[in-house]
Amino acid sequence: MRVSYNWLKEYINLDLSPEEIAEKLTLLGLEVDYIEDWSYLYKDLLIGKVKKIKPHPRADKLTLVDVEAGEKSFRVVCGAPNVKKGQKVVLAPAGTTLPDGMELKNTKIRGEISEGMICSADELKLQEERSEGIFVLDEDAVPGEKFAPYFNLDDHIFVLDLTPNYGYALNMLGVARELSAAFDREINYPHIKEEKESGRAEDLISVEVTDSKLCPRYTARIVEGVNVDESPWWIKIRLMAAGIRPVNNIADITNYVMLEMGQPLHAFDYDKIQDKIIKVRPAKRGEKLVTLDDRERELSDQDLVIADAKKPLGLAGVMGGLESEISSKTNNILLEAACFNPYNIRRTAKKFILHSPSSHRFERGIDIENITRASRRAAQLMAEIAGGEVIGGIVDIYPKLKEPVRLRVRPQRVNEVLGTDISRMEMKSILEKLHFKVQDSKRMEGAFRVQVPSFRNDIKIEADLIEEVARIYGYGEIRGSLPRMDMEIGRRKPTQKIEEKIREIFQRAGLHQTINLPLVRKDEGFYNTEGLPLTLTNPISVDNSCLRQEILPGLLRSLEFNTKRQEKSAGLYELGDVFPGNGPGQRSRLAVVLMGATEGESWQADAPDFFALKGILETLGFEMGVGISLERSELEFLHPGRQGEIFLNGKKAGFIGELHSGLQEDYRFPSRVAVMEMEMEPLVEEATLEPDYRGVPRYPATSRDLALTIKEEIPSVQIESLIKKEGGPFLETVTLFDLYRGAQIPDNCKSLAYRMVFRSKERTLTDEEIDRTVEGIIKKAQKEFNADVRK
């Protein structure tokens, strides 16, 4: 809703600056998005009078025009064919700015200096199409004065962003009423002549409404002998301020009254109505109608139409039909003012994507008791402006009078809900300012019985009235306080604690947290086995049409984003939800990508990224008190020799590996990328975040190093478990510290070096007993793996 301040002043004049009005409106709940300052746009323009016209010496189509504006005179080079001596025109002197932001300079046009410009209607932004000639003003314009006030363009437009409950404020009087309540001032209502609501109208038209639920009230009025033409400028400018394009005086008047009073109106060409009957009925299935926007619509029996004896003339409350449109040949008008069912209007408007100012108001509810007044107002304006004659009487189909809503309001409850101490009298006065009728309740002592005015369709329960009191009292006036509640300890759930811990561990590991859109392409994913993804019926694009089933693809996209920007190394993770396609329940997963990890100086050098990532996974396991183990796997998108399934305390959780070289190439990653993804559930089940303290050792430890040469294919984990098994009760830790291949090691063999630490809780161990244990380990290794001891 766009509200012209100049227009608003016609109903309520507050002598406040536009900014003050805007702030008050916002604090009343009618949020002002911004103020459009027209007075600034038009500030430089002057009214001028054409004094003298001379031909341009070097151009046929140009003339040299002397324009007088008060004391000053300007020589302007003009190309308009319609410039005539004595005309009052709009002058933009050089050095000023036009409404569209263009700056004018003193220029030479074909050798002649032009000291400004005579403006056309489109240059003044008064019409959209380019105009052939200059804009000519009426005789009463005074040369030398500013153009803006003369044309009512010294205005400010409040652009309101109204929530759906403010249907009653979608018109000038509605906004004025709000301000009148806030500032306690009277409103000047427009003057509408009383007319006898009886006469020939009923002989000229009959109306049938098939379903009063869909159309609770329908009125028709006749205006004869109109002269369809352009509207006077004062109407056009008000419509433009409201953002509505002027069409012709009849259509403009219907819009004008809608903007003024909130009642959508429609004018039909009376002579095109077959058999002079209006039928308000559901459309027949397959029936067609060409709407005003020149598009053919196929209707269904859920759409309500305004029809004559033969065919639909318009979509009720949404948009009129092209055929019965007002044209320059129209003589007689049927003026419709009605009330339609909000939900039905909304459904039709949505279906045809036809959101009109009229459907917008019907959807939010209009004032059913105001219909005949609005109709009368429009008819009178038509008579006044388009020279028509209002035929007496109105056809008014209003079978079931709307009962006013009456609510009980308990002042004590108001104060309880608001946490205030507003007096009963003040509440009463606030509600009365808002046109509620307030009486003492007969049934409950102290309570009010409040009658809701017919324009307030949004007020249905006591809480709605509590808001009304608060709104006018002022939200700012209500003191803030902290609630007194029972003591309670706020705490995170175990899952949330574990997630927090993961983020902390990863942060220390140098990984950066990412968040990726869960909306992805349909075929995205590497290993999913959970059916087709959940698919959106109204996606914004193919790339965001499904809910993700894996985290990794998004993470790789983020990595790609960064490598395209010259990043050589990156560690990224995401802890987020995935959505299985074949069953309910989203679940959390954790995924990591790692590229270009620092090359370690130890045995890890031949696969830095894999082992760097495995190290992070093991750290995670260690910190959560969960055992991590890997088993070889065969996932196609991973390096066939560098991948494994992850087990947490023996529970299958996910995978880890290096990206397959083919994929690495597709993504143009400059080096190998290690990736992992796992379910959070097994981790949450197995994790223990409490430390496991086992006392400080009282006796010294003794360590031994052991290098074993074994066949290449024997995994290290087997040697490690052999050592653990044979190491006896005093073996405290086993750590691999070297992996060696090359000189002195036979082909297809490798040397693994372990450091073993022994310790007893009760005494200092002797070298002899440790040596014996190591001997035992060696013997077993020789026997089981044919291992050689490297000295």
Partner: protein, 339 residues
């Protein structure tokens, strides 16, 4: 003989005084006090002296020996101190060279906001609830007093999922889910992703994060709503911020409010960030609509409550003055490393 000793002492002290090397001093020790040293030699020749003279000379010789020994030690200490000083001088470094880097990952700015808010609410005794992203029409709309074909549905352009489901447009369904399973008093927050039909551009995103709060108990009032939200706003944006409440509309709260905070960029003067209003809209709130309470099985006469919801993406953008919402989704390391 005494004279000889005196001469030796003289000679030794002179040599010690002139020595600048530890090695030299060691040699001097040998030269004078060693087994075959000069002083030792004199002592050894004492046998040739008449017995009555021996104690006198002996005493004197020892004195000389001690003197030399002491001088040697003193000089040795001096030299060691000098050497250490020289070594340390040599080890001087350019302290303006950069320090050793600790490689540490970063939290996403969204996480920083979430952490800060969660910590604050935990301190106030709130529990943290969760709910699904894929919702039913009932929880997302109907139970929140937004029936079919209500214009309020236009406030939230909804993604629909095949099979009568939708992506939640706000975190408010968690309110309903909580009220259904828990009797008052209720004091919860929930954080999560929400979805609305919007193309991703500098100021819009189809996915965003919301934090929702719900408090229900006897005697909860609008004044409490204000008190809690003012505290939250000041905690996040600073004590000096002005906070403004103005009427708004949400079908599930009545009265409803929009909460603005004074613009950080212009301090309320009016700038491009705040569209020249001096205020930034940060959250919506209100007293839980009695109908919503009743629908969820809570006696609206006995209990009242307030609820609020804030867009965390916008919050993060305001707080860190992030100029483009896409930064929150690109995971550009040049962006992430700044948090």
């Amino acid at each position: 003989m005494e004279k000889k000793l005196e001469e030796l002492q003289q000679e030794a002290l002179e040599k010690i005084g002139n020595t600048n090397e530890v090695d030299e001093l060691e040699k001097l020790q040998v030269e004078f006090l060693g087994k075959n040293g000069k002083v030792t030699g004199v002592l050894r020749s004492m046998g040739n002296l008449p017995p009555e003279k021996r104690p006198v000379i002996g005493k004197f010789a020892n004195k000389v020996k001690n003197k030399i020994e002491k001088e040697l030690q003193t000089r040795l200490q001096e030299l060691k101190v000098q050497q250490e000083k020289a070594r340390l001088a040599q080890e001087a470094i350019d302290i303006t060279l950069p320090g050793k880097k600790i490689s540490r990952g970063r939290l996403h700015p969204m996480q920083l906001i979430i952490n800060q808010l969660e910590d604050l609410f935990l301190r106030m005794g709130f529990a943290i609830e969760t709910g699904p992203d894929v919702e039913t029409d009932y929880y997302n709309f109907e139970a929140l007093n937004i029936p079919q074909n209500h214009p309020a549905r236009d406030m939230q352009d909804t993604f629909y999922v095949e099979g009568d489901l939708l992506l939640r447009t706000h975190t408010s369904p968690v309110q309903i889910r909580t009220m259904e399973k828990q009797a008052p008093p209720i004091r919860i927050i929930t954080v999560g992703k929400c979805y609305r039909v919007d193309e991703l551009d500098a100021t819009h995103s189809p996915v965003f994060h919301q934090l929702e709060g719900l408090v229900i108990d006897h005697g909860i009032s609008f004044s409490h709503l204000k008190g809690v939200l003012i505290a939250v706003t000041r905690e996040i944006f600073g004590e000096e911020r002005d906070v403004r409440f103005r009427p708004s509309y949400f079908p599930f709260t009545e009265p409803s409010a929009e909460v603005d905070v004074s613009c950080f960029k212009c301090q309320g003067e009016g700038c491009s960030l705040c569209s020249r209003t001096g205020w930034l809209e940060i959250l919506g709130a209100g007293m839980v609509n009695p109908r919503v309470l009743e629908m969820s099985g809570i006696d609206a006469e006995k209990y009242t409550g307030f609820a609020f919801g804030m867009g965390l993406d916008r919050m993060a953008m305001y707080k860190y003055q992030i100029e483009d919402i896409r930064h929150l989704w690109d995971n550009d390391l040049r962006f992430l490393k700044q948090f």
